[in-house]
């Protein structure tokens, strides 16, 4: 059954292929969705970059309180994410569900201009924004997968993530430039952010299309726990969830990595955003090569290698006397880790999921990995307090070695087709 679906996708993908410069070939849909993500990410990263500053400096909220609220919302959006993914699959309306997600986030930008300094309303806006992000991710990735032949999924997600990350580089730079131009005035940032969100939304609405055969198909039965559970019962996908989950459990959150790097590399606190931008830049540049490499030598290999790069980063956090030259290596390793894992994991999942359950499956995968990462984040914070930061990193590094070995076995034994491993 999967064989049939795959060969159909192959034929369709072949027709939709667009030649781009170099030898990277992806469909127009992938580029358009990448552009949508580029503009949306400029918009959202502008706000994300300055939101802590805005809340803490302008409104006097403690960063801890913001972190707690943020964490709770991450968990809460899991339900929305799976529901949105399933809805998209059920009616074949990937684009429409994605439009709702992108639209919700765009609306919140104007909201920031209107709510003034009410912390509860700002909290509500952040919640709506995260909800929008939760809604759009799975249908968008499903659209990318549906418009790409299976053996090029790595490249396609690489192209999308490169464009997406370009937004994550531009957004903070733009926001901080505006803040330099207009100190203490956050309204222009929110307004410009809204403009970029609208452009991203316009590209999606005007140019991206659903696959007509999926829209015309009979809708699937309504979402139930059982239908989601049945999906998890697909043995290869279950194995992938286990592999992705255990690796995420051994992954320190970005915030902790940057904080640790800053301490160990003797980086001034005000340069912290630079670390973030530099890492994103590396991620952006390596996303396409990593995706192509994954398509060529096997996605599982590239995915696991990515986590070995993360191990290098952990090492730099505890290694004594890391100089500025080594810090460059760390930034490259961290960016390369993202390039080798984020889009590649989605590509692995997309390849094994049946067409009609792709958005649902992707949303379940994102939910599992992000919840695991949340648990890891809390565990790391607790370990930091209990046994100190160095010991905590060592424990996580040990955990990562075990998780990578486990994931490697699970992926090669159960999840990958021989050609992919």
């Amino acid at each position: 059954m999967y064989q049939v679906a795959d060969s159909q996708a192959l034929a369709r993908g072949g027709r939709a292929l667009v030649r781009r410069k170099g030898s990277v070939k992806v469909s127009a849909t992938v580029v358009l969705l990448g552009l949508t993500s580029l503009f949306t990410d400029i918009s959202s990263e502008m706000v994300t970059a300055i939101l802590p500053l805005y809340l803490v400096l302008s409104l006097g909220l403690s960063p801890l309180a913001f972190g707690v609220i943020d964490g709770i919302q991450q968990g809460a959006s899991a339900l929305v994410r799976v529901t949105a993914g399933y809805t998209a699959d059920r009616f074949g309306r990937y684009k429409e569900v994605a439009v709702v997600g992108y639209g919700l986030s765009a609306v919140t930008r104007i909201g920031f201009l209107l709510v003034g300094r009410s912390v509860s309303l700002i909290g509500a806006l952040v919640f709506v924004d995260r909800t929008g992000k939760g809604i759009r991710t799975a249908p968008r990735d499903a659209l990318i997968a549906l418009s790409t032949p299976k053996e090029q999924l790595g490249t396609a997600f690489g192209v999308h993530r490169a464009l997406d990350t370009a937004g994550a580089v531009i957004g903070p730079l733009l926001a901080f430039s505006l803040l330099l131009l207009l100190p203490n005035d956050f309204d222009p940032i929110f307004f410009v952010s809204f403009c970029f969100a609208l452009i991203g939304l316009a590209i999606l609405v005007l140019f991206v299309e659903n696959r007509p055969d999926r829209v015309e198909a009979e809708p699937l039965p309504p979402v139930t726990m059982r239908s989601v559970a049945r999906l998890l019962a697909v043995p290869r996908f279950g194995a992938l969830l286990v592999a992705g989950g255990v690796l995420a459990l051994a992954t320190m959150s970005d915030g902790f990595v940057y904080l640790g790097l800053q301490q160990n590399l003797d980086f001034a606190g005000r340069n912290l955003p630079l670390l973030y931008v530099a890492t994103s830049l590396v991620y952006m540049l390596l996303a396409v090569p990593a995706g192509r490499l994954a398509d060529r030598i096997g996605r599982g290999k590239v995915f696991i290698s990515g986590y070995l790069l993360l191990l290098v980063v952990y090492g730099a956090l505890v290694a004594p006397g890391v100089g500025p030259a080594a810090s460059l290596i760390v930034i490259v390793a961290f960016g390369a880790y993202y390039a080798a894992t984020d889009g590649v994991l989605t590509a692995i999942a997309s390849a094994m999921l049946p067409d009609e359950a792709r958005a649902t499956g992707l949303s379940v995968l994102v939910t599992v990995t992000s919840l695991a990462r949340l648990v890891a984040s809390i565990a790391f914070g607790a370990a930091w307090v209990l046994i100190g930061v160095d010991a905590a990193v060592v424990v996580f590094a040990g955990g990562l070695v075990v998780a990578a070995a486990l994931a490697g076995i699970v992926l090669t034994r159960y999840a990958m087709e021989p050609a992919d491993a």
Partner: protein, 347 residues
């Protein structure tokens, strides 16, 4: 829609969005230039402070600088990263510009060219310390204080400093608290009196009880006399003390947190007029021993400060208020986002 139409719509959307963004940023820049403050002055816009709030102009403080004009020192509570910082403003027009110093204080006082700033300190900032600072905000010395800071006072010539801390409980409003009040020589940092160790007399007789609590010192000009309040259960007393004789004498009852007027003839204080915590400000004439209630309906928990011989300033809910010392008129708002007032008079 045909592809050409869609491209046209997208071009229109992009043009409109980019245009709107440029116009919005341009207008914001123009507005900020119009109200552009002089170099070194930072404006906290009213919009970030609350609906209908006026903006606050701040700058960096380098000196108390009393030359020519009296100053008011206080803890600034503008809700940004400067919240809790020591600040100084001209007394003639306190809202015009507040200079913010690098010190953070939970209570501050300043007199005779020397200040006392009670702030977090000690091992990993787990406790509190008193920082003694000069007119340029340089910390001359610091010493630990046990408990949670409540009151601070410096003698008119800047020689002595008094601190009151809660070692149990954190408010005067319920009976279950215990305070420590100590006076130090700020030039050496040595303690000159722990009020609990001084002998108290009432009507010429020895007066003592294990439940005594002392708080709220105010100093006279002569480097000897001071006043403080004594609590024993629900009763409170005004004490007159002598540093030289190491004695305390009960003057009258129902007085808390005394504050001596610049002319030394009157004492502003707070007194319970209803239930627990229901204080109002009064002024006691030390010659006639007659107390006059000051105007104002809100409960006040502060050690008042004299603006001049006719006006008293006090903090309530992070706002400084001024009221006439003869009981007439009504409270007038002096300064927002501020507490713990101390007046430094022009010499």
């Amino acid at each position: 829609m045909r592809k050409r139409t869609r491209l046209a719509v997208l071009a229109a959307v992009i043009a409109a969005c980019v245009g709107a963004a440029v116009v919005y940023v341009g207008l914001s820049v123009a507005r900020s230039h119009k109200s552009s403050p002089p170099a070194g002055v930072h404006v906290v816009s009213g919009a970030t402070l609350g609906r209908g709030a006026a903006g606050v102009r701040t700058t960096k403080a380098s000196s108390v600088d009393t030359e020519g004009d009296s100053r008011i020192l206080f803890v600034s509570m503008i809700p940004d990263r400067t919240a809790g910082s020591l600040a100084v403003a001209p007394l003639s027009d306190p809202t015009s510009l507040r200079a913010i110093a690098g010190l953070r204080c939970v209570r501050v006082y300043y007199s005779g060219g020397r200040g006392l700033c009670l702030t977090r300190g000690g091992l990993l900032n787990t406790g509190y310390v008193a920082k003694v600072f000069d007119s340029d905000f340089h910390v001359e010395r610091q010493y630990p204080v046990s408990g949670i800071p409540s009151r601070a006072r410096v003698s008119p010539d800047g020689r002595y400093g008094a601190t009151t801390t809660f070692v149990q409980g954190d408010s005067y409003s319920n009976g279950n608290f215990s305070t420590r009040t100590s006076i130090r020589d700020l030039t050496t940092g040595k303690e000159v009196a722990d009020l609990e160790k001084l002998a108290v007399t009432k009507d010429g007789r020895r007066f003592s009880n294990r439940n005594f609590n002392f708080w709220g010192v105010t100093f006279a000009e002569d480097d000897d006399r001071f006043y403080a309040s004594l609590g024993s259960g629900s009763d409170t007393y005004l004490l007159e003390g002598s540093l030289r004789d190491r004695t305390l004498k009960v003057l009258t009852e129902r007085v808390e947190c005394p504050s001596l007027s610049p002319d030394g003839k009157r004492i502003a204080f707070k007194r319970i007029v209803g239930g627990a915590g229901d204080w109002r400000l009064f002024v006691l004439d030390l010659t006639t021993m007659k107390a006059t209630r000051l105007a104002g309906d809100d409960p006040i928990d502060d050690q008042a400060e004299w603006l001049d011989d006719d006006h008293v300033v006090y903090g309530n809910d992070n706002v400084l208020w001024v009221v006439r010392a003869d009981g007439s008129g009504g409270p007038r708002k002096l300064l927002s986002y501020a507490f713990s007032p101390a007046v430094s008079r022009a010499s």
